[in-house]
């Protein structure tokens, strides 16, 4: 064994997995996990803990894995995270825990994400359950949204003895874990549902089909239904479009729509009613994780797929692993390319996408080099489907129906340390930050739970 290198993780062969929705990464077995864990040098001043947004005691759980005490490892993670099987799969570890790992200076960082995933999967397969609060404190908290922020916040509060109800707008809990991230990256029945069940086992109630701001408002929850505090984790909202000609044509989708049809409504399975217009040749515009998910979904539905992104590979906001997987599977990357018009036939169907080539100029406000159009570089990519993956703007439903809840100029809820401008109301996740990652939403959920606990303890 080379201690400088990660124990490799088994994956489905790219040629095979490009045609199915089964999970790409197969994960470690017990031996592989113990071997990988033994590479950890158990630093006194563990930088990985600081690198983790929810501050999991990483060296401690890795140590237990090394010793073969997987159940103990699960409870150590459980002190900080309610969704380890999810985080082990979708966190951008390379910029967080693994990015600061001492082992990574001379060799490869410890595979913390894969170990976390292993521990969570082991716990689920062996019926290890999270530890519930031993008494209730008599206070009620409502959590809006059963996504990563809401589930985390609810889990933390339940462990402190609060009576927590999550209100979810869709017909299934999970938020982006259910409607957004595809099956091949995050299996629903095997991973997401059991993680949600674990949160329920802590005593959390989940009521689906309730749209806060419409079915009932925040004020009504506090006044009529007796909730002492609220956490808003309602997630991202309306998809952004480019504002170029042809965007209303049949065959232009937001990534949200394409992924929701496929993941939440299971359009990829024959016996589900919701249709999806898979496309034969698909252009995905954007370079984030959502763009990769949409591209790899279209590929599995049988399309030739092009990612069109206006900057270069170095600026792709997606996790390195997703880009790598997408390439392996055959997604074509048209980088430094930007659409200027979607071509439409007389029936209103997409026939192609006019694009221009770009080059990188001076750094802009985000610190990244600004892409500039190369004059005379216009070409056309023939396609029948265009998926816009340009991010989202916040959902207006809650802010517009709640007196005293302020938003910033982008429509995001204003929250400092999780506390909004309305007494007793906390918020976090995409509703506050705009589109971000699962783990950052979880961090915000934790912060919200801490804030609510302090608020209600002082009352």
């Amino acid at each position: 064994m080379d201690v400088m290198k990660k124990v490799p993780v088994r994956e489905q062969d790219p040629q095979v997995r490009a045609h199915n929705f089964d999970e790409v990464c197969l994960g470690y077995n017990e031996q592989e996990a113990m071997e990988e864990a033994s590479r950890c040098i158990n630093c006194k001043n563990a930088r990985c803990i600081q690198g983790c947004p929810v501050n999991i005691n990483i060296p401690a759980f890795v140590h237990e894995v090394k010793e073969g005490n997987f159940e103990k490892a699960f409870h150590i993670i459980g002190e900080s995270s309610a969704l380890p099987a999810v985080c082990g799969r979708v966190c951008p570890q390379e910029t967080q825990c693994e990015g600061v790992c001492i082992r990574g200076i001379k060799g490869e960082a410890i595979s913390i994400g894969k170990l976390e995933r292993f521990v969570a999967d082991y716990a689920r397969e062996h019926g290890v359950e999270p530890e519930k609060a031993d008494h209730l404190n008599g206070k009620k908290v409502a959590v809006i949204g059963a996504g990563p922020a809401g589930l985390t916040c609810a889990g933390d509060l339940a462990k402190l003895g609060y009576e927590v109800t999550i209100f979810e707008a869709l017909h299934e809990p999970g938020g982006v874990l259910t409607y957004g991230i595809p099956e091949f990256r995050l299996p629903k029945k095997r991973v997401v549902e059991p993680e949600v069940e674990n949160v329920k086992k802590l005593g959390v109630k989940i009521e689906c089909n309730v749209v806060i701001g419409k079915s009932i408002t925040i004020d009504q929850l506090m006044e009529d239904e007796g909730f002492d505090a609220i956490f808003v984790g309602s997630g991202a909202g309306l998809p952004k479009f480019m504002g170029i000609p042809g965007e209303q044509a049949n065959g232009v989708f937001s990534a949200n729509e394409y992924l929701t049809r496929n993941n939440l409504m299971k359009a990829f399975l024959d016996d589900y009613d919701t249709p999806i217009n898979a496309g034969k040749k698909v252009v995905v515009v954007g370079g984030g994780n959502v763009a990769m998910d949409a591209a790899r979904t279209a590929l599995r539905l049988g399309a030739e797929v092009h990612i069109v992104y206006r900057r270069s590979e170095a600026e792709l906001p997606a996790r390195a692993e997703e880009v790598h997987h997408a390439k392996e599977e055959g997604v074509i990357f048209d980088l430094l390319t930007n659409p200027t018009e979607i071509l439409v036939d007389e029936k209103g169907l997409v026939t192609g996408c006019k694009v221009v080539k770009m080059e990188l100029g001076e750094p802009d406000a985000s610190g990244r080099r600004r892409p500039v159009v190369i004059p005379g570089s216009e070409t056309t990519i023939e396609c029948d489907t265009v998926i816009m993956s340009l991010g989202t703007s916040p959902n207006p439903l809650i802010a517009s129906t709640t007196e005293g809840l302020e938003t910033n100029k982008w429509g995001c809820l204003v929250a400092e340390e999780g506390k909004t401008t309305k007494d007793g109301v906390y918020a976090g996740g995409d509703a506050v930050t705009g589109a971000a990652t699962v783990i950052l939403a979880m961090e915000a959920g934790k912060l919200g739970a801490k804030g609510i606990h302090e608020y209600l303890s002082a009352k």
């Binding site: 707008a169 017909h171 079915s215 479009f241 209303q248 049949n250 949200n256 409504m265 299971k266 439903l397």
Partner: protein
């Protein structure tokens, strides 16, 4: 689960259901919609609320069989239940939130076409309960397709029924009826028009000429209905709007109907296939030109 308390046919292919959904019935208003999902594998189907009973916690929906999902839904009976039923979604009709002093001095005309008759009902009823008698035109292809006439008689000011083939009431389409009434000297401050998109388009064309501000209720394809997927986008006054959160009601004189009608057709092939499958069941062996069964 959301139990069905009443299920009956109003006309060929049009059925009504009262569904128990207390949370929705408590706060819903005219103009809003719900999304219904029959069972695990069903689609999410947006349906405009056609009546509500706050005390009994009931929501009335009226549905036309247009595809496989609505055909399956039509087979549900009282005592069955929807797995998911969510709402109220969208914004209430303007008159619910506008200053009542302004609303009560207006003369309202409702133009309802076919299935669109049902969602007009709670609006006319609301106005009636607030002392405002609105004129209503109900249009249908023929006598058998005229729905809810009795209910309307109880809440409308003047009620005009017109059929395309003249088999009942006045003869001709709603636009003819509207023009005739106008020529007879009737005047209104606001027109609210709900029906097939093509009908709304032509009513709006006419009311624009007649100078009557017109509100339409758009019913585009939706998935989540809560402002997330963007499937329901349409162009209003040159800007992209989302029917689920910005609507479903819009200024009819500003809606790009041609674009909206094109967007309605996107899943037509899928719907046709699914419909054949649902109707013919195991006996389906091709003929739809899509499934390959006839090769």
């Amino acid at each position: 689960m959301y139990p069905i308390r009443r299920a009956e046919w109003l006309a060929e292919n049009i059925f009504l259901m009262d569904v128990e959904a207390p949370r929705i019935a408590k706060y819903c208003e005219p103009g809003q919609f719900i999304i219904a999902k029959m069972d695990e594998k069903a689609e999410r189907i947006p349906l405009t609320i056609c009546n509500y009973d706050r005390e009994k916690g009931l929501i009335t929906i009226v549905v036309q069989v247009v595809g496989a999902s609505t055909l399956r839904m039509s087979r549900l009976q009282a005592g069955d239940a929807f797995m998911d039923f969510v709402g109220p979604l969208g914004r209430p009709s303007d008159f619910v939130t506008e200053p009542f002093e302004e609303v009560k001095n207006r003369k309202y005309l409702f133009v309802a076409g076919g299935l669109g008759t049902a969602p007009v009902y709670p609006q006319v009823k609301w106005l009636h309960e607030h002392g405002i008698e609105a004129d209503v035109i109900i249009g249908a292809r023929n006598k058998d397709l005229v729905i809810m006439e009795e209910e309307f008689q109880a809440v409308a000011g003047n009620l005009y029924v017109t059929t395309d083939d003249g088999s009942y009431g006045r003869s001709g389409m709603v636009t003819k009826c509207l023009q005739d009434l106008y020529d007879e000297g009737k005047r209104w401050d606001v027109c609210v028009c709900i029906g097939p998109m093509i009908m709304m388009k032509f009513v709006c064309k006419l009311t624009k000429e007649l100078g009557i501000p017109t509100i339409v209720s758009m019913n585009p394809i939706m998935v989540d209905g809560t402002g997330m997927c963007g499937a329901c986008r349409l162009v209003v006054d040159g800007k992209v709007k989302f029917a689920c959160v910005d609507g479903p009601e819009f200024d009819g004189h500003l809606v790009d109907f041609d674009q909206a009608m094109k967007r309605q057709t996107i899943y037509k092939t899928f719907e046709g296939q699914a419909m054949l499958k649902a109707k013919e069941g195991d006996t389906h062996h091709g003929g739809c030109g899509q499934c390959g069964g006839d090769k």
